[in-house]
């Protein structure tokens, strides 16, 4: 089966959106008002992806696999894209003439992630990853009057280029030892240190590219700086969607990783270090985006629990957690973007008295902070529970204990957000009034928070899909 158009529908839909945006970028400015329908169009994409759930198949000479796992992530990517587009519609720090380009690159990055979720061939994976990153390289510096944004862009590009080079180098090792780049064939080869050390080195280097996207420990250093430099809205995208792409590839590659192998142990250690390091660093942050940056480093460690476990349940837990992470982080960034009306970076003190200025936003913030800690009854709790459970079952007791200890540390700084929002008094203007937050966008923020709560109370709805995805990853490639 070389090509089946019905398997390709979500990608084609997004491509059509990209084509439309391209026309807008070169068209007259009067057409730009159509941009406001973009979130709606991306929202329709969620439906398109949901409809394509029933399809499965292997296309393009076995390089492109459509299955439960890929469709699950495509749905999540459309969801994230819709929210980030909505979030970025009235971006204060984006110069007017670059608005259509901004959304064009957002969608291109999402397209790269979608291709990533279906790619089962290493070169395709690599290129899709690059497609997602290149668009971000262009997006991050697009923050007017902010030299830090250029710095962040340069950092992201340079470190990204080095990691890319390492990944390509690793790919050459894999190709040299095993003479193929197709995952289905690589499955059957040996990956142990004693028999094929070069292949293992290659795999480790290749995984590095994914760790960079995921901001896992040794390759996390860009994360806080880039979040801080990029505009709030861009950071909301960078912090959430690329992680989905990295997780889906890790889930696919995890079929290569036998629990008894050295590299799995390495991943477990990295997960532990990443959690601890991220959480300890987040404790001392004052800038909200830096705080969330270190928080995402630690969350990358949590997701790795499921990957390390490697069972269908573990992979399903990782997929579920990735989506939960997307929702709770988007909710958190939603609050930040609404609060920062002039687009500046927020400090912890800027949250003071949020309950007076906008009780709704304060509630959304509280829900997302509780979810990030992993407290019931939020989705964060359920996600972590699944992850810990799967890792415990596979005998990674020490890792589970470290993860639980880390959650305890994390309580301090996440609840610090809530403390600032609820127990400090808001600054008053000269006339003695509390300045309300203009245009809080409570409907969508509320929906995000509701989704986080709902998945915490009734996780089965999403988790059954995630289980399908996990089974697909474990089943097709036994």
């Amino acid at each position: 089966m070389i090509f089946q158009i019905e398997l390709f529908i979500p990608e084609l839909y997004l491509l059509a959106l990209i084509g439309g945006l391209f026309v807008l970028t070169v068209g007259p400015q009067s057409w730009w008002r159509f941009l406001r329908y973009l979130p709606l169009a991306a929202g329709v994409g969620i439906g398109v992806a949901a409809l394509s759930f029933q399809f499965s198949g292997l296309m393009l000479y076995g390089a492109y696999q459509v299955d439960g796992l890929s469709q699950f992530f495509k749905l999540a990517i459309f969801l994230g894209l819709a929210v980030t587009c909505l979030n970025a519609l009235n971006q204060p720090t984006l110069s007017e003439e670059k608005r259509p380009d901004y959304f064009l690159f957002l969608c291109l990055s999402a397209l790269g992630l979608m291709l990533l979720s279906s790619a089962v061939e290493l070169v395709t994976i690599f290129l899709a990853l690059e497609l997602a990153s290149y668009s971000l390289y262009a997006l991050i510096p697009l923050r007017s009057k902010e030299p830090a944004a250029a710095e962040a862009g340069i950092k992201y590009i340079l470190f990204g280029a080095v990691v890319t080079a390492l990944a390509m180098y690793g790919l050459s090792y894999i190709l040299g030892v095993h003479h193929t780049t197709y995952l289905s064939e690589l499955m059957t080869k040996t990956w142990s240190w004693s028999e094929a050390p070069a292949a293992l080195i290659g795999l480790t280097l290749f995984l590095g590219a994914l760790f960079y996207k995921l901001a896992l420990f040794p390759l996390h250093f860009w994360c806080p700086d880039v979040y801080e430099g990029a505009s709030n809205e861009t950071a909301a995208f960078v912090a959430t969607l690329p992680k989905l792409g990295a997780v889906v590839v890790l889930v696919r590659l995890s079929t290569l990783l036998d629990p008894s192998m050295e590299v799995t142990m390495l991943l477990a250690v990295l997960a532990a270090v990443s959690m601890t390091f991220g959480n300890l660093s987040a404790l001392v942050q004052n800038d909200l985006k830096r705080l969330l940056g270190y928080s995402s480093v630690s969350h990358a460690g949590y997701v790795m629990l499921g990957i390390v476990a490697g069972t269908a349940a573990g992979l399903a837990a990782a997929a579920f957690y990735a989506v939960v992470y997307l929702l709770m982080n988007l909710a958190c960034f939603w609050v930040i973007c609404r609060l920062s009306t002039d687009g500046r970076n927020l400090k912890l003190d800027d949250l003071n008295g949020l309950y007076q200025r906008s009780p709704g936003l304060a509630l959304v913030l509280a829900v997302s902070a509780f979810a990030l800690v992993g407290l019931p009854p939020t989705a964060g709790f359920m996600g972590k529970l699944f992850l810990l459970n799967s890792a415990w079952m596979e005998g990674y007791h020490w890792l589970v204990i470290i993860a639980v200890l880390n959650s305890a540390i994390a309580i301090y700084y996440y609840l610090n957000l809530v403390r600032h929002a609820y127990t400090r008094e808001a600054p008053v203007t000269a006339s003695g009034e509390v300045q309300a937050v203009p245009n809080p966008g409570l409907l969508w923020g509320g929906l995000l928070a509701a989704a986080v709560l709902w998945l915490g109370v009734a996780p089965a709805t999403l988790f059954s899909f995630a289980q399908l995805a996990g089974a697909a990853a474990g089943g097709v490639l036994p």
Binding site: K98, L104, A138
Partner: protein, 171 residues
């Protein structure tokens, strides 16, 4: 065997050429000289491709890297201003030089030892692949990456344009 020692001589001649070029690239104080070193390295790599019976790749290496990429780098160098008083003009401190060379040596030693002691089985005689076979290879099993590259290049170009250009004012 004289032919084998000749083969080794040719191989290590290429390797020496590449290494000299690489050292020149890294150690030279002058950007253009560093570029010349880089070009030497690229040329040497092209030669290695010839040795491995892949003349098409070798020629492409010359056409693309020597003929186009390094020329563009040259252009970029000419557009920059070199400061003789900047931080970079000072030589690295000794401590930093030692650390840097250790950092460079460690993975090289590690990878090199791995390859020497655990070399993967390889085809002993490299066979020349026809260009048409290469083309079929790219357009059949690797059609998706092949097409993705064009999308990737478009994105890279558009990104550079967005960041580099000011949009003209609409009339």
């Amino acid at each position: 065997m004289p032919s084998q020692s000749l083969a080794y001589a040719v191989l290590f001649g290429h390797v020496a050429f590449i290494v000299v070029g690489a050292l020149m690239t890294v150690l030279s104080q002058n950007l253009v000289r560093a570029l010349v070193g880089l070009i030497m390295t690229l040329f040497g790599v092209a030669g290695l491709f010839f040795l491995m019976s892949a003349p098409f790749i070798g020629l492409m290496q010359i056409l693309i890297y020597v003929g186009a990429v390094s020329i563009l780098i040259f252009f970029a160098i000419m557009l920059t201003q070199s400061w003789s008083s900047g931080d970079e003009a000072q030589g690295p401190s000794r401590k930093r030089a030692v650390l840097a060379s250790l950092t460079a040596l460690a993975p090289a030693l590690f990878l090199g030892l791995t390859i020497i002691f655990k070399s993967p089985p390889s085809l002993l005689v490299a066979e020349e692949t026809e260009v048409s076979a290469l083309g079929r290879f790219l357009l059949e099993p690797y059609i998706l990456p092949f097409e993705l590259i064009s999308l990737l290049l478009t994105v890279a170009m558009a990104g550079a344009v967005i960041l580099g250009f000011e949009r003209r004012k609409q009339r």
